[in-house]
Symmetry: C2
Subunit: 372 residues, 2 copies
């Protein structure tokens, strides 16, 4: 016999290859039609009644509501979305460097975005994809064209970020945490990383340091770029020499910070201070320093970036640059909702001034002994 309606080959779309769902009979949700049939009125009236249109008599409204409650009616979101052509959902594609990541950055950002979204009646669709992967590209593609979400958050912007150019081209609503190098104009919130590095270097110089190393974030990330740039500028502004060996690119993890610190301390000419591109690396770095028998905050000054909630709890507590990720998430969320609803943004480009948080890891004033 000739078999039809059976999927033999691969899939064309983005669907998934699971066996067709056997009828889950126990879960027959009640629909508008059920209510309508029950009351002997039309589906239209039920729909409009529930939606509160003045079109429907108060008395009818009440009866509709009553049977809706009795039958345990919940609107089918998918159908609603199809008709309204909006999903009331915001998308967020997590760029995880390592599959097994655990970056407080994300949970804090998610908290800010999530709380704000929830209070505005939006849901959050999260997808985890390796940055630059084809899967990531596919996810953005799907987002931009498939009615997957109403708008997107782009985080950890990259230098020449193809995600952004793609979304700009497609004219898809999105907001970014961070800037990028491209011609297109888009709403973003960013922290002035260069200014942050400047502050921390000034702080270290004030403490008497001049041999300052930098464990940089990956340079393909825009904020990495800015921080590195800021590092050079600030060093120049203080007339300090920059040694190329004292600049190492880290991978944003504790382990990365640890190994970076150790390789810096293995140099014949050691720095007296190390700035890390984020707190996670700084915390790992301090461990690396301890492992070589030195004390961070005493023998080596350490500075971080982000002020994650744990940085005040490590020992020594971490001198760092505050980055209010939660607030940024919240703010970006309201911005995105405004963009989606085509409201004018009061500010399309927000550049936050960082604040230095001095704790113990930068240590006390040192003798000018190590000056060169």
């Amino acid at each position: 016999m000739y078999i039809r309606n059976v999927l033999e080959t691969g899939f064309g779309g983005t669907g998934v290859g699971f066996p067709t769902n056997i009828n889950r009979e126990s879960r027959m949700a009640t629909t508008l039609r059920d209510i309508a049939r029950e009351l002997g009125i039309s589906v239209t009236t039920v729909s409009r009644g529930l939606a509160g249109y003045s079109d429907v008599a108060e008395d009818t409204k009440a009866r509709i509501q009553a049977t809706a409650d009795r039958l345990g009616y919940t609107p089918n979101l998918t159908a609603r979305r199809l008709q309204k052509r909006r999903t009331d959902t915001l998308g967020f594609i997590l760029p995880t460097l390592t599959p097994r990541f655990s970056d407080p950055f994300f949970s804090e950002f998610l908290a800010g975005v999530g709380n704000e979204a929830a209070s505005r009646g939006y849901d959050l669709l999260v997808s985890v994809q390796a940055p630059g992967s084809t899967e990531e590209r596919a996810a953005y593609e799907r987002a931009a064209a498939g009615g997957w979400v109403d708008g997107l958050f782009v985080v950890r912007t990259r230098v020449n970020d193809e995600r952004i150019t793609r979304l700009c081209d497609g004219n898809f609503p999105f907001v970014a945490f961070g800037r990028t190098e491209c011609d297109c104009e888009f709403p973003y919130v960013d922290e002035d990383s260069a200014a942050g590095v400047h502050q921390i270097i000034t702080h270290l110089v004030d403490l008497g340091h001049s041999a300052i190393a930098f464990v940089a974030p990956p340079s393909y990330l825009m904020f990495g770029r800015y921080r590195i740039q800021g590092f050079y500028e600030a060093m120049a502004a203080h007339n300090l020499e920059v040694r190329e060996k004292w600049i190492i690119e880290g991978d944003m993890t504790q382990r990365g910070g640890e190994t970076a610190a150790q390789s810096l301390l293995a140099l014949t000419e050691r720095p007296t201070a190390i700035i890390f591109g984020n707190d996670l690396m700084a915390i790992g770095g301090m461990n690396g320093i301890k492992a070589t028998g030195l004390q961070p905050g005493v023998d080596i000054a350490v500075g971080g970036f982000d002020n994650i909630s744990l940085s005040s709890y490590v020992t020594p507590s971490l001198t760092t640059i505050e980055q209010p990720i939660y607030d940024i998430g919240q703010r970006l969320c309201t911005m995105l909702i405004d963009v989606i609803n085509e409201r004018e943004l009061t500010e399309r480009h927000v550049l936050l001034s960082p604040t230095l948080i001095v704790r113990d890891s930068s240590g006390p004033r040192i003798q000018a002994g190590s000056r060169r």
Copy 2:
């Protein structure tokens, strides 16, 4: 004039009150119909062609694919979902105690779930809601009935968890991280918390401790309950006296651990060891201990729970009970997908045996001097 079709009153459903979307004309996505019209064939054939049915001539398939690519076709997921009656989306309602949370637990769990989901072609819908709030209830209601998601993760199970009873009643696919006290049967993964506490207490007893305090997780959380219970049992097993004053309920945050530690050390009869209900509290607690001039790991032994990635980076490094949250997330995700697709689970109830990770915070063997 009488105005119609304008929403004067509130909404009936779960919709949101934004102005009706002004036609975003620039974003007219191409549909199957566009492709069909272009090729002069039917929508059916286009759909089946893209889906790879043998129903369609190879040549036609190729032409369909070509124009689909040319027109930049992406299937409308909402329409697909409505028709297929499945969303290929898994739901996750984050119970955040404080609005401004930042718990590595969630980011790690999200990573595990998210990676697994992505590789299986599922998306993740995340909502942030305060535990026990009406909004949380509404979110679960919507999930269970509205075709919002295909299945749910329930985390941080509570004693007598109404979320679980509700989902069981509704026969909705879900899996839980943790058990609960109710009659219903459901798939879960949990760690044997009681056994974990047992291990850590045995470790402390081996080191010579007998005056052991416990900063417990909230007792309305099921794992809190188990850990408290385990504490009593283990103490009894070692013939150690439990002082009620040495048991404090914490709020799972660093700050909570800090204040708990300080109030324990303010007692006239001090414990020599403190076990914290999670690593976050333990890290905060160690700071509290330092603040009173004592050294954790030297004057006071400290144990945690979870083994978050930072616990090996604090000073002293934290002795704790490993809880492989990432793996649990991954495992729960495959379980949930199996449940959704009505496959038999190989294991419906997984109870993981914890492993003790000894680091510096539990300190060396002490004199039996403080024995009573």
